[in-house]
C-alpha cells in the first residue's frame, strides 16, 4: 500500500460504496431468479394439487368407510388375526425350516456363480478353438483339448445347479406351505381394499401430511429455483401431435399442446365443478377422454379450439374472450391482449363448433354440432355459395327461381316492387334486399335505385321467353284447395304464414322453407300459371326442386284457386305501392357509367346518343344484373356461364385480419366480429366512406337474426385452410363417401321435410297433426296418437328393408304403398346419378351389401305355402286384419291399415322380413306392428301345431308365404309394381307417363 495521502478518493468510503453496491447486485440477481421462477402456471399447479389432495382424501375416506361396512372385509380381519396367531404358534418349526432353506440357498448361489465362470471360459475357449481351426494353427490340438475339458466341466456343473435348484424349491415349498392360509387371506384382503390402497399410495405421493419425512423433504426441495431442473413436481405438461400441424406460413410444425399445464383436470370427471382452469372438459364421452372418438393424445386441444398450443401463459396461449364483459375481466385479471401475429387465435366459446368442420367437412349434418349445422343449412337456404365460392357446395343448384320465363309468371310492376323490397311482399322470403340499405338510402341513391330496379326488370322481361300455359279445364274450389294443400304434403317444403311469426331459427323450421311462403300468389301471378306449374313444374325448369305431385286437373285447379283467390292470396298494400316514373337522366347516367368502363367518355356519349330508351334500359339492366350478381341465384337469359361475384369463402376462416376492411367501424378487430357485423348489416363498412355508386358494397341484406348470424359465423370460422392428417378426416371409406353423397341429395331435395332420416326430419308432422284435427275431426289426443301413421314414413333401416332395384324404380316413378296416407311421395325427376346416390346412401347407412340382396327360391315358397297360410289366417296371426293384400282391404278405419303384402316380393329384402317379424320395435321404434315373436318368450310364441312348434321355421314359412302373395300377383299382372288402385287416372305430364291414384278410405 502506498501512502494514503496520494489517493484521490477516500478509500474507506469507496469500500462502503462497493459493499453496498455489491449487496444490491446480489439482491437484484436474486430478484431476477425469482422473477424468472415465478410463472403463473406453477401457481395453478400448486392450487390444483391441493384440490387433488382434497378429492383424493374424500375418496379415500369413502373407500375406508365402505370397507368398514363390508362384512366380508371385517370377517377377513378377524380371520387374519387367527391365521397370524396360528402361524406365530408354529414359530419353532419355522425357524428350523428357514435355517435349512438358507443353507441350501447359499450352496446354490455358489454353484451358480461357478457355473457362470465356466460358461464364460467355455465361450472364450470355443472362440480360440474356432480361430485355430480356421488358421490351421499349430495350437489346434491344445485348443481342442482345452475346449473339450471345459465343455465336460460345464455339463457337469449345469447338472449340479439343476439338482441344487430342485432342492431349494422343495425347501421353499415346505416353508411357504406353512403360511399359505395367511397369504390367501391377505390376497383377498388386498383385492377388496385395492381401491383404498391405490388412493392411499396416491395420497402418500401428493399429500404433504401423509408423506414420510424423507419424501416430505424431497417434496419441499425439488421445486426450489435452479434445483427444479432435475425432477420438479411443477413442470410443463404437453402432448405432441405428429400428424397435426401448425401452419406458420411457409412452414408446418407439429402441434405441441401445453394447455394441460394449467387445464389440469381436463380429462377427469372429479373436477367438473372446479373453477377454470381446472374444470373438466364437457362431454368426455365425445372429447378428450382416451375412450372417446377424439382423445387428447390424438387430437390435442388447439386442433379444435384454435389458440397457440405452445403458449404456457394466459396471453401467449392466444385465448379469446367470448364477450366484452369477459374481455374486460381478462384484461384486469390476466393483462390479456390479443395475440396479433398468431393466425389462429382461440375461437370464442360460442363458435367452438367451427373446429368440427376441419375434419367433418364432407358431412351434411355433423352430429352434436347444432350451431354449425344450423349455419350450414342457412348457407344452403340463403344460397351464399352462389355468389361466394365454397368448396363444399360445388355443383349445388341455384336457390332462386328460374327467371328465363318470368314474363309468363308475373307482371313487370310486381317484379319492380318485389326487387326493390322483397320483404314487404313476403316477410320471411329468402330473397335478400339490395336497396334501402345503409349505404344507398339517401335521396340521391333512392332516385337512382328506382331506375336501377326498373332497368333490371326491363332486361328480365325483355329477355323472358314465352311458355305456353294451358287453360284450367275445370273450375277450382278454394275450400277444397285449402284442404288439399294441408293434406297432400305441400307443407313439407312450404309454409303459409300471412303474418310474421317469431320462430326460433331451427333446422326443422328451415326445412319447411325449402319453397316460398305461399302467400300473396294472387297478387304475384295468375291461377292459370299456378295450375300449370303444379301440373308439371319440370316443364318450366328441368332441374327445379319443386316436385310433381301428380295432381289431377281438379286438384290442381282447386289448389290454384286457393292460392290465388283466397284471403292468403291478397297483397293489396303491396300492389298499391307507388312506382317511380322513369327518369331518363338517371338512366343515362347509369348507361354512361357502364359504357365508360370500356370506352372513353366521348365514345360513350356517342354510343348512348344512338340508343333508344328501351335499349338504354336493357343495357343498364344487363350490366346491373352482372353488377349485383342476380344471376348467381336465378337462371337469367344471357348469364349462363358467369363467374360468381363474391369473395371465395372456402378458406375465409383463415383470412388474415389485415385483409378485412373494418372501414371506420369501431368493433373488435377479429374475424368473428367482422363476420357478424357483415352478416347483420352487410353495407356497414361503407359508413363515412366516399364512394361512387359502382364502388359501394353490394352484398344484400338477408335480415339474419343474431342467432342466425352467430350460426353463420361458426361456419365461416370453420372454413379454414387447416389440413388435418388423412386419418383424422371423415369420409375416407367408401361407405362414408356414399353416405355423404346421399346426404347431399337428401338435403337438396329436402327429403327430411317429410321423412325422418338419420334420426331427424319429418318437418311436416305438426302440419299432419293440424290436418287430422281440422279435417278429420280428431280430438287432439287422438290425433297425437296417430299423426305419425298419417305422416310420410320414417326411413330408418330402409337399406336393410328394401331391394335396391325396387327403390331405384320407386324414386323414378313412385307408387302407392300406404293407401291411407294423404301425403304423396312426389315425382322428383331425379337424374340417374341422384337416384343411384340415394340408393347407395340407404345401403351404406345400414351397412348392407350393395346393390343385390339374397333371394328366396320359388321351390321354398311352394314348400312353405300351407304352413304359412295357416299362420297367416284368422285363427293364428290374422295378418290380413291390418295388412292390405292386393284388392282386399282390411276392415276398420284407414289409420289402422298396413302396407300391401303383394308388394313385398319385389320390395322387401327376405332377411329384413325375418328380422321384422322377430322384433318390429327394434327396427322401427313406435311401429304399430305387433311383435308376435318376442325374444323373451320366443319358444312359446308360435303355435305348437305348426311345423312342430319350431318358431324359427314358422317365421320363415310365414315370410315365404307372404313373398308368395307377391308372386301370385306377378302371375296375373305384367308389372309387379302396385297398380291395383280402382281408378288409375293416367295423365301425360311433361312428356312422361305418371300415374295418379285416388286413395280409398275417405
Amino acid at each position: 500500500m502506498s501512502e494514503p495521502q496520494e489517493r484521490y478518493y477516500n478509500i474507506a468510503k469507496l469500500n462502503k460504496v462497493f459493499a453496498i453496491s455489491s449487496l444490491v447486485l446480489l439482491g437484484t440477481i436474486g430478484w431476477m431468479l425469482l422473477d424468472d421462477y415465478a410463472r403463473r402456471w406453477k401457481g395453478y399447479q400448486r392450487e390444483f394439487r391441493s384440490y387433488e389432495v382434497e378429492k383424493t382424501r374424500v375418496k379415500f375416506d369413502k373407500e375406508k368407510n365402505l370397507l368398514k361396512d363390508q362384512e366380508r372385509y371385517q370377517e377377513l380381519l378377524v380371520e387374519r388375526e387367527a391365521a397370524q396367531a396360528a402361524y406365530d404358534a408354529n414359530s419353532a418349526g419355522l425357524v428350523d425350516l428357514r435355517t435349512e432353506l438358507e443353507a441350501v440357498q447359499g450352496e446354490n448361489d455358489l454353484l451358480v456363480q461357478q457355473y457362470r465362470f465356466t460358461k464364460a471360459e467355455l465361450d472364450a475357449a470355443k472362440y480360440q478353438y474356432e480361430e485355430a481351426k480356421n488358421h490351421n494353427s499349430s495350437n489346434l490340438d491344445r485348443a481342442e483339448e482345452a475346449f473339450d475339458v471345459l465343455q465336460a466341466q460345464e455339463k457337469q456343473q449345469k447338472l449340479a445347479v439343476e439338482v441344487s435348484d430342485q432342492e431349494v424349491q422343495q425347501k421353499r415349498d415346505a416353508f411357504d406351505a406353512l403360511g399359505v392360509h395367511l397369504k390367501e387371506i391377505e390376497r383377498e384382503q388386498g383385492r377388496l381394499a385395492q381401491e383404498k390402497t391405490l388412493l392411499e399410495n396416491k395420497l402418500e405421493k401428493i399429500d404433504q401430511h401423509a408423506m414420510t419425512l424423507p419424501n416430505l423433504v424431497a417434496d419441499l426441495v425439488r421445486d426450489l429455483p435452479l434445483i427444479d431442473m432435475a425432477s420438479p413436481n411443477y413442470k410443463i405438461r404437453q402432448v405432441v401431435l405428429k400428424d397435426l400441424k401448425d401452419d406458420l406460413n411457409f412452414m408446418q410444425v407439429p402441434k405441441v399442446e401445453r394447455c394441460i399445464t394449467c387445464h389440469l383436470g381436463i380429462d377427469n370427471l372429479d373436477y367438473k365443478d372446479l373453477p377454470q382452469p381446472f374444470r373438466t372438459h364437457s362431454n368426455l364421452e365425445q372429447y378428450v377422454d382416451n375412450d372417446s372418438p377424439h382423445p387428447l393424445e390424438d387430437f390435442g386441444c388447439t386442433s379444435c379450439h384454435g389458440g397457440r398450443g405452445r403458449g404456457t401463459d394466459f396471453v401467449t396461449a392466444a385465448h379469446t374472450p367470448s364477450s366484452d364483459e369477459q374481455k374486460k375481466e381478462w384484461e384486469e385479471q390476466y393483462n390479456w391482449e390479443a395475440f396479433h401475429h398468431w393466425d389462429t387465435p382461440m375461437v370464442p366459446l360460442q363458435y367452438t363448433e367451427s373446429g368440427c368442420f376441419k375434419c367433418h367437412s364432407g358431412e351434411t349434418v355433423i352430429a352434436g354440432a347444432e350451431n354449425l349445422n344450423l349455419g350450414l343449412q342457412l348457407i344452403e337456404r340463403a344460397g351464399c355459395y352462389t355468389c361466394h365460392e365454397i368448396e363444399k357446395y360445388k355443383g349445388w343448384m341455384q336457390p332462386g327461381p328460374n327467371l328465363k320465363a318470368i314474363g309468363t309468371k308475373v307482371t313487370p310492376e310486381w317484379a319492380r316492387r318485389w326487387i326493390a323490397d322483397p320483404h314487404s311482399f313476403r316477410h320471411n322470403t329468402w330473397m335478400p334486399a339490395f336497396w334501402g340499405q345503409s349505404n344507398n338510402s339517401d335521396p340521391n341513391s333512392q332516385a337512382r335505385a328506382d331506375q336501377e330496379v326498373r332497368s333490371i326488370a326491363h332486361y328480365l322481361f325483355a329477355a323472358s321467353k314465352e311458355i305456353e300455359l294451358t287453360d284450367i279445364p275445370v273450375p277450382g274450389d278454394p275450400v277444397r284447395g285449402e284442404e288439399l294443400v294441408a293434406s297432400v304434403g305441400c307443407f313439407g317444403c312450404h309454409k303459409i304464414e300471412p303474418d310474421p311469426v317469431v320462430t326460433p331459427a331451427t333446422r326443422q323450421n328451415l326445412q319447411r322453407e325449402q319453397g316460398p311462403n305461399l302467400i300473396g300468389l294472387g297478387s304475384k301471378t295468375s291461377a292459370t300459371w299456378v295450375f300449370n306449374w303444379l301440373k308439371d313444374p319440370h316443364r318450366f325448369r328441368a332441374d327445379t326442386r319443386m316436385p310433381n305431385l301428380r295432381l289431377t286437373d281438379q286438384e290442381a285447379a282447386d289448389i290454384a284457386a286457393y292460392l290465388t283467390q283466397s284471403d292468403i292470396s291478397k297483397r293489396d298494400d303491396f300492389d298499391r305501392k307507388p312506382l317511380a316514373p322513369i327518369d331518363e337522366a338517371i338512366v343515362d347516367t347509369l348507361v354512361t357509367e357502364f359504357l365508360t368502363r370500356t370506352m372513353t367518355r366521348a365514345q360513350a356519349d356517342e354510343q348512348r346518343a344512338g340508343m333508344a330508351l328501351d335499349d338504354k334500359l336493357e343495357y343498364a339492366g344487363q350490366k346491373l344484373i352482372a353488377h349485383y350478381g342476380c344471376f348467381s341465384c336465378h337462371a337469367i337469359e344471357g348469364f349462363d356461364d358467369m363467374k360468381p361475384i363474391g369473395t371465395a369463402l372456402t378458406q375465409e376462416g383463415s383470412k388474415s385480419i389485415h385483409n378485412l376492411d373494418f372501414g371506420f367501424i369501431h368493433i373488435d378487430h377479429s374475424r368473428q366480429a367482422w363476420f357478424k357485423q357483415k352478416l347483420k348489416e352487410p353495407r356497414i363498412f361503407d359508413e363515412n366512406r366516399v364512394k361512387t355508386p359502382g364502388e359501394k358494397l353490394r352484398m344484400p341484406n338477408f335480415n339474419f337474426t343474431d342467432e342466425e348470424a352467430d350460426a353463420l359465423v361458426t361456419v365461416l370460422l370453420g372454413f379454414t385452410k387447416a389440413k388435418p392428417g388423412h386419418l383424422k378426416l371423415t369420409g375416407a371409406s367408401v361407405e362414408e363417401q356414399y353416405i355423404q353423397e346421399g346426404q347431399r341429395v337428401v338435403r337438396q331435395f329436402n327429403c327430411q321435410g317429410c321423412h325422418e332420416l338419420e334420426g331427424e326430419g319429418g318437418a311436416i308432422q305438426p302440419k299432419v297433426f293440424d290436418w287430422l284435427v281440422k279435417y278429420q275431426d280428431k280430438e287432439e289426443n287422438e290425433a297425437d296418437a296417430v299423426f305419425k301413421s298419417f305422416s310420410p314414413p320414417n326411413l330408418i333401416g330402409e337399406g336393410k328393408k328394401v331391394h335396391a332395384q325396387w327403390l331405384f324404380d320407386f324414386l323414378h316413378a313412385p307408387s302407392t304403398i300406404r293407401p291411407w296416407l294423404k301425403t304423396r311421395m312426389p315425382t322428383f325427376n331425379f337424374t340417374a346419378a341422384q337416384s343411384n346416390a340415394l340408393v347407395r346412401y340407404f345401403s351404406a347407412l345400414d351397412r348392407v351389401d350393395f346393390p343385390f340382396a339374397e333371394m328366396v327360391s320359388d321351390a321354398e315358397i311352394a314348400r312353405d305355402y300351407e304352413d304359412g297360410k295357416k299362420l297367416f289366417s284368422e285363427e293364428y296371426l290374422a295378418c290380413g286384419k291390418c295388412h292390405i293384400v292386393g284388392d282386399q282391404t282390411p276392415g276398420g278405419s284407414a289409420d289402422s291399415w298396413a302396407p300391401d303384402f303383394t308388394l313385398a316380393r319385389d320390395r322387401l329384402k327376405p332377411q329384413w322380413m325375418i328380422d321384422w317379424l322377430m322384433d318390429p320395435q327394434a327396427l322401427l321404434p313406435g311401429t304399430k306392428m305387433p311383435g308376435y315373436f318376442e325374444a323373451e318368450y320366443f319358444d312359446d310364441a308360435g303355435p305348437e301345431d305348426i311345423l312342430g312348434g319350431d318358431e324359427t321355421l314358422q317365421i320363415k314359412a310365414l315370410r315365404n308365404f307372404i313373398l308368395g302373395l307377391g308372386a301370385e300377383k306377378g302371375k296375373t299382372e305384367s308389372s309387379a309394381r302396385s297398380d291395383d288402385r280402382p281408378d288409375p287416372k293416367q295423365t301425360v305430364v311433361g312428356g312422361r307417363v305418371s300415374k295418379a291414384f285416388t286413395v280409398p278410405g275417405d
Binding site: 489517493r7 484521490y8 453496491s21 447486485l25 431476477m32
Partner: protein, 373 residues
C-alpha cells in the same frame, strides 16, 4: 374522434419535419455558429446563456414540461412508453445534459481565456493513481450499471414482441434505433447511395478527422471560441444528421412510413399525396414546356450540371468567399477533402427540402441503368 386542443394541434403541425427541420437548421447556425460573424450574432442574441446553470434549468424545464404535457395524451403515451422507445426518451435527456455540461465548461474556459487565464483543465494537474482511484471507481460503476440493466430488464420487459408471423410484415418496419438515420436517408436517396456510398464515406470521414483538423488550439480542454468551425461541424453531424433522425424515426414515423405528429393516431389508412417529379421533368416539362428528350444524356444534362456545380464549382466559390480563412489554414488537399465531405453531408438536408417543397425526387434520374441521384 374528439378534436385536438390547439397546443397539441400546433405541435403536431410543427413537428412535421417539413417545418421542424428547416426551423432547427436555422436555429442551429445561431446556437453553434461556425464563423465569427454568426458568433457575434449568437452573443448578441445572448444564446450563450443556454450553457449557464439557468440555461440548464431552462432546457430541463422545457423538455420535462413537453413530456409531461404530452403524457396526458393517450397516443403520445402509447408511443413514448413503448418498451422499445423508452431508451430514446432517455437519449433525448442524456444527450441534452451532456451537451449542456460540455458547453458549460467550454464557455467557462472561453471566459477565463478571454480574461487571459488558463483553462480550468490546466490548473488541475494533480496526478491520480490507476489503482485504486481509477480502477476501483470503474469497478463500482460497472456494478451499478449491471444493477441498472437487470432492474430495467425486469421492470420493463425486454422489448421482445409477440412471435412473428412471416406472412405479416410489421407496419411500420423499423430498423434498430441506431440505424434509423440510415433508414431515413433511404427515403430520399436510392439504396446504393444511402446504403453503400454514404456509410462508406461516413467511415472514411471519421477516419480522416485527425488529419483534417490541424487546429492546435483546444487540445486537452473544453473550448468553443477556439474551435467554432470544428464544434459546429461535429454538432451538425451528431445532432442534426444522427440524433434528430433517430428521434424522428422513433417517434414520428408511423405506418407506411408516414409522418405522424406526437399527438396523432397511427392510422394505417392515412394517405399522403406523394407524387414526385425528377429535375429533368421540371426543366423540360415545366420550364421549357416540351416533352422529355429521348436521349438519356440530353435529358439528364441539367442534373449532371447541378451535381458538377455542387461538387466542382461550389468548393471553389467557397474557397474564395465563406471559407477563405479555412482554406488558408488547411491548404488545398485538406480543404478540398473537407469541403467535399461537408457538401455530401449537406446533400441530405438539401435533398429533403427539395422533396418537401418542390416534390423533387431525383436530380439525376436514369432508372434505365438504376442510376439515380
Amino acid at each position: 374522434m374528439e378534436e385536438l386542443s390547439w397546443p397539441k394541434h400546433l405541435i403536431n403541425v410543427l413537428s412535421n419535419p417539413k417545418y421542424l427541420f428547416p426551423l432547427l437548421l436555422g436555429l442551429f447556425v445561431f446556437i453553434f455558429p461556425p464563423t465569427d460573424r454568426l458568433h457575434r450574432i449568437h452573443l448578441r442574441l445572448r444564446l450563450d446563456r443556454l450553457w449557464t446553470n439557468a440555461g440548464g434549468v431552462f432546457l430541463l424545464v422545457l423538455f420535462l414540461s413537453f413530456f409531461l404535457f404530452g403524457l396526458t395524451d393517450p397516443n403520445f403515451r402509447l408511443i413514448v412508453t413503448k418498451a422499445d422507445n423508452v431508451p430514446i426518451v432517455g437519449l433525448i435527456f442524456l444527450v441534452t445534459f451532456f451537451l449542456w455540461f460540455s458547453m458549460k465548461q467550454a464557455l467557462e474556459n472561453d471566459r477565463r481565456m478571454a480574461d487571459g487565464k488558463k483553462p480550468i483543465e490546466a490548473d488541475d494537474k494533480d496526478p491520480v493513481l490507476v489503482w485504486p482511484d481509477l480502477v476501483y471507481g470503474e469497478f463500482i460503476a460497472m456494478i451499478v450499471c449491471t444493477i441498472l440493466l437487470i432492474v430495467w430488464s425486469i421492470v420493463l420487459t425486454a422489448p421482445l414482441e409477440q412471435p412473428a408471423n412471416p406472412a405479416v410484415s410489421p407496419n411500420p418496419s423499423k430498423a434498430p434505433w441506431y440505424f434509423l438515420g440510415l433508414q431515413e436517408m433511404l427515403v430520399y436517396f436510392d439504396p446504393w447511395i444511402a446504403g453503400v456510398v454514404f456509410p462508406t464515406v461516413i467511415i472514411i470521414g471519421i477516419m480522416a478527422i485527425p488529419y483534417l483538423d490541424n487546429n492546435k488550439k483546444g487540445c486537452g480542454y473544453y473550448s468553443f471560441a477556439d474551435r467554432k468551425m470544428a464544434v459546429s461541424v461535429f454538432m451538425f453531424f451528431w445532432l442534426v444528421l444522427w440524433i434528430f433522425l433517430i428521434v424522428v424515426g422513433t417517434f414520428l414515423r408511423g405506418p407506411n412510413w408516414n409522418f405522424f405528429g406526437p399527438f396523432e393516431v397511427w392510422k394505417i389508412s392515412k394517405l399522403e399525396a406523394l407524387t414526385n417529379v425528377n429535375l429533368s421533368e421540371l426543366i423540360y416539362m415545366k420550364l421549357l414546356n416540351r416533352r422529355l428528350p429521348d436521349n438519356i444524356l440530353v435529358r439528364e444534362m441539367g442534373g449532371f450540371l447541378v451535381i458538377l456545380g455542387y461538387f466542382g464549382v461550389l468548393p471553389l466559390i467557397l474557397m474564395k468567399t465563406l471559407f477563405r480563412k479555412l482554406h488558408q489554414d488547411l491548404g488545398n488537399v485538406r480543404f478540398s477533402f473537407f469541403t467535399i465531405m461537408l457538401l455530401m453531408s449537406f446533400s441530405l438536408p438539401i435533398k429533403m427540402m427539395l422533396r418537401w417543397f418542390f416534390n423533387i425526387k431525383y436530380i439525376v434520374a436514369i432508372p434505365e441503368y438504376f442510376f439515380n441521384i
